[in-house]
């Protein structure tokens, strides 16, 4: 079947399109235009829009915290905090050194006390034992308090 011939026109020597608006517009071109229109309309509907409207790239947002100059007060506070932390850990180290020293002394005194008690009899009661026991008591108390402080600092 010839699509470019109208049945009632007969054979006049030229063909006219069946769907032409004016002159010689082929129906295939019309279909192609329609398809392009449909595709473009679909794309326009599928483009995501960010919440709050489309993005504007003409003006940068410089008000964020990363772009602000550091606050001098905050910097000073941070330095103070770091210095305090340093002092605290130095004091803690010193305290631990003293604890180790005291515990060594404690062991020495306990050994001496035991030796003193072993040679003590009912006839030879030693005042040294009392002195040493008193020294051990004080030293053990100091060690305990220092250890509590160190444990609290940790």
């Amino acid at each position: 079947m010839n699509l470019f011939k109208s049945p009632d026109l007969g054979n006049r020597g030229f063909a006219r399109p069946m769907f032409g608006v004016r002159g010689m517009v082929p129906w295939a071109r019309a279909c192609a235009c329609l398809a392009v229109t449909v595709v473009l309309a679909g794309n326009a509907q599928n483009t995501p829009t960010p919440p709050g409207g489309p993005l504007r790239m003409d003006k940068a947002d410089l008000s964020g915290p990363a772009n602000q100059a550091p606050d001098p007060n905050a910097q000073m506070q941070m330095h103070d905090q770091q210095a305090k932390q340093k002092d605290l850990s130095a004091a803690n180290e010193e305290r631990k050194r003293q604890i180790a020293e005291d515990s060594a002394n404690l062991l020495k005194l306990a050994t001496e006390l035991k030796a003193e008690v072993d040679k003590t009899s009912k006839d030879t009661l030693s005042l040294n034992v009392i002195r040493k026991a008193g020294a051990i008591e004080r030293l053990a108390h100091d060690v305990k308090e220092k250890m509590k402080l160190s444990a609290g600092a940790n």
Binding site: A100, L106, L113, T120, K122, L125, I136, E137, K144, M147
Partner: protein, 70 residues
């Protein structure tokens, strides 16, 4: 006088025992502190120091009582 002598002897025996325990505790405490690294202090060490403190106080008091009556 007849009663005091056995008491004194018993107290001296107790002091001997306490001082042996004291020595053991001091040895344990030293070992505990030696193996403890610089960032951790064990509650066990604190407890041992407390025991040493109490025990040495007891030894002191018992010895005073023993020295006093004789």
């Amino acid at each position: 006088m007849g009663n005091r002598l056995p008491d004194s002897l018993e107290q001296i025996r107790q002091i001997g025992e306490d001082s042996a325990v004291l020595l053991k505790l001091a040895t344990d405490l030293k070992a505990e502190l030696d193996k403890t690294d610089k960032d951790t202090l064990s509650p066990k060490a604190i407890h041992e120091a407390e025991l040493i403190e109490r025990l040495s106080h007891n030894v002191q008091e018992k010895m005073k009582l023993t020295v006093g009556p004789s």
